[in-house]
Amino acid sequence: MNWSAVWAIYQTEMARFFRTIAQSFISPVISTSLYFVVFGAAIGSRIDEVEGVSYGAFIVPGLIMLSVMTQSLSNASFGIYFPKFIGTMYELLSAPINFLEIVLGFVGAAATKALFIGVVILVTAMMFVDVPIQHPGAMVLFLVLTCLSFSLFGFIIGIWAGNFEQLQLIPLLVVTPLVFLGGSFYSISMLPPIWQNITLFNPVVYLISGFRWSFFGTADVPIGLSLLAIGGFTAICLAAIWWIFKTGWRIRS
């Protein structure tokens, strides 16, 4: 393993994050606060407890997941797309490194940034509501796996994208709706039975449900299924990236 290369990529990607630390830090704090003002105070005050948890606290795992997923996607996709866009990809392709090392550097940095933002949101949320964490180990596991798997997915999008429009296409048109419809702000048991069944085809449901279970001990789907879903998603993304580097799809002519 060329650990030196992994560290070089990781450090450079993190430097980009720290160059805009105010924006990276303040933006999630403000948006989380706004969610609490709108959903927690204005709308939440009219909603009873959900599965025995106050609505304000109930939306915290969903809010964290929403930000972590979108941040992982955008950080990882931009991280690998930018060298393609400015032409510095040649450096990665001509360096003595393999696909795993490139992925570890880029995806590791993207996942770290998303994790940081997830923690910032959790801390911000705790200033507004009491958030119990019944299974802290599982909470960390779900958080890390989500950051990792969505960063892997973002990496694939970044390699696929041929321009900035395509870079935004899947996150905006596919992922964001799936996250919003995946129970971020509600329990799927609140939906009519037909929609409950349809929602089960949304993979994000399993991630949010598992993450919420780690907080409150209640879940829309069995915790084992949630773990299986996130593990499977990670494996599929890894396999796809391995194939991309093996064939050189969109990166090596």
Partner: protein, 307 residues
């Protein structure tokens, strides 16, 4: 030898055959200049050796390591300065050079980075962001990055394209300095004078084929045409009938005659020409000879290939 290329072929997805069986060996410590027009295959050749492009068939070995099966060892020995100025604009100079050293698996060595930046007159700009630099400085940064991991072989893809004359001379000095350190240099260029000034060997590539590789001096001596210009005391309106066999050109308004001859020939015909000029009653004022440049040779070869 440090680079061995064996029957290398490359056809792009669209069907364009960029390399048509290139075979070439490059000796350690030499400077090889690859000349060729646009689309000749120069950049594809370099890209394939460096790992940016996948080879179609054939083999490339660097330091004895195959660039496909032994890519780690092969690429560790190579530094590449691309044709385009591709740099992350917001990074500091010192950071971007340190980054490349890391990518190539070398441990951090601030003293080495400092030496490279000083060698390239970039030390004062080490904390400047790339976006703030001039075009010439950016090109130096590209060279610094390529040298950051102390490569044995350095590829320079049109290193002086679009730079001013002064900077071009600076680049030549840098290349000469690297050669003195034992670095093997392969450069592609459009500028014949560049190859003439710094290369040990010259390769001419066109249409994906290597038309010729030869020692620069030997090439010029072997293929070089010379011209003898004869300045006359009195102008003439036409070349005398007795001199028709020499294919002379009347130039400069009739006060000079130009005679082309091949240095490879057993006899240049100059002695006989001078005798016949005197017999024809022409008085000579001065004589000048001029050797054809590498450019003339290059143009000749490429047009021959195209014909």
């Amino acid at each position: 030898m440090i680079v061995e290329i064996e029957n290398l072929r490359k056809t792009y997805a669209g069907g364009f055959e960029a390399l048509k069986g290139i075979t070439l060996t490059i000796e350690k410590g030499e400077i090889l200049a690859l000349l060729g027009p646009n689309g000749a295959g120069k950049t594809t050749l370099i890209s394939t050796i460096c790992g940016i492009t996948k080879p179609g068939s054939g083999h490339v070995r660097v330091g004895g390591h195959d660039v496909v099966t032994g890519y780690r060892q092969a690429r560790s020995m190579i530094g590449l300065v691309p044709q385009e100025i591709n740099l992350e604009p917001f990074n500091k100079v010192i950071d971007t050079v340190t980054y490349t050293r890391g990518l190539f698996g070398k441990p951090r060595d601030p003293a080495k980075i400092e030496a490279i930046l000083k060698q390239l007159s970039l030390w004062d700009k080490r904390n400047s962001r790339v976006v703030e630099l001039s075009g010439g400085m950016k090109r130096r940064v590209l060279i610094a990055k390529a040298l950051s991991h102390e490569p044995d072989v350095l590829f320079l893809d049109e290193p002086t394209a679009g730079v001013d004359v002064e900077l071009r001379k600076d680049m030549w000095d840098i290349v000469a300095g690297l050669k003195a350190q034992g670095v093997t240099i392969i450069l592609t260029t459009h500028y014949i004078e560049e190859a003439e000034a710094i290369a040990d060997r010259v390769g001419v590539i066109n249409g994906g084929e290597l038309l010729l590789v030869e020692e620069k001096d030997a090439l010029m001596a072997r293929l070089g045409q010379k011209t003898l210009q004869i300045d006359l005391q009195e102008p003439v309106s036409e070349i005398p009938e007795a001199l028709a066999a020499y294919a002379l050109e009347l130039v400069e308004g009739g006060v000079a005659l130009r005679y082309s001859y091949d240095t490879r020939g057993e006899s240049t015909g100059i002695t006989r020409l001078l005798r016949d000029l005197a017999a024809a009653g022409l008085s000579l004022k001065d004589l000048q000879t001029q050797q054809s440049s590498l450019e003339d040779i290059f143009v000749g070869l490429v047009s021959e290939g195209a014909a």
